[in-house]
Symmetry: C3
Subunit: 139 residues, 3 copies
């Protein structure tokens, strides 16, 4: 059993950018030479989130639309009143979806469905440089 | 320390079927002979999700109702326009709740509350054969 | 590699109390003398949840407000009709956010962002004594 840490770094385009990191996670896990285990994918930050989705152009519109119905930018946010950074709705969405995703791997293969990709959701209102942590535990 | 993989296979009845998999997870963990660790429960697929709930008839109505308010089937989804499978709202709900749940076990007992069950949520619009992965890590 | 279990116990003030447990998690992880790994934070119970947030007074109002829009107390819940405990909306919110959060640690430091805190959300309608489990796995 071993713990191996890897990081992904990329620039996002701004609000509602959805980045497919599946291939990067696969490469990271394969690079460890571990056969079986889990990878915990984590964003250190409170305006981004991790989940899985079928990465096709329709859902890249539908999913942000649904998040906007939950927490529309147009509402009043106490966060914005205090800090004036205009991203109160970003924080709310990020806390709802969560900063962490754990995916098993078996025989050196991530246990994803055929139409299931791992994505980072940029929920902040501006382009950000994001550093994502992969904590890989296995044997 | 060891990593042990188990799978659960079952047929769902279709949209908003909520399946209590608690006993199956308990049996799987006990079968490993590991005393302490975590089990990561994962659905390989983008129209199902995992969470916990008090598994009683009222909430089996209330929880799907709340998900429908977030992402009603009656809205327009770009996914459906492109793929014509009528499950755009299913994908949105699944990405929101997430495909993964990690539960600790201590002294061979899952750390659940008395009124807390582990459930698989079928969010797709039709009956599906589901294979759920349990990645158990412990000692 | 080792698995070490710790618990946090505290009293909540009631509905929409958001408790910052970051320092307690840091102390627990440091107390293990493990350098690298993950901590799974879990609430045994179906009316509380775990996530991260920027812990500042504005968001402590905004986030509960958003959850109330998803699952308002004022709606009819089948759960309440059957059990008369008035917390159907609490259960729905808890299942949506989830009972579990996994955070990596590297060189004995939790991988959190500067403005990101780990929080327990009390979603039940009354003050509760909560026991949170920390399952720490690492080397």
């Amino acid at each position: 059993m071993a713990v191996i840490t890897k990081t992904l770094v990329f620039q996002t385009k701004g609000e509602e950018d959805i980045i497919d990191i599946t291939d990067d996670v696969i490469k990271a896990v394969n690079g460890t030479m571990l056969d079986n285990g889990i990878v915990t994918i984590f964003v250190p930050g409170s305006t981004g989130a991790l989940t899985t989705i079928e990465y096709e152009p329709g859902l890249l519109i539908d999913f942000p639309n649904s998040l906007d119905r939950i927490s529309p930018r147009s509402l009043h946010y106490e966060h914005d009143k205090r800090w004036h950074d205009g991203n109160g709705h970003s924080h709310v969405k990020a806390s709802l979806i969560g900063p962490s995703l754990t995916v098993p791997f078996v025989d050196r293969t991530l246990s994803l469905g055929t139409w299931q990709q791992i994505v980072f959701l940029e929920l902040d209102v501006r382009s950000r440089r994001r550093k994502i942590l992969l904590q890989i535990i296995g044997e």
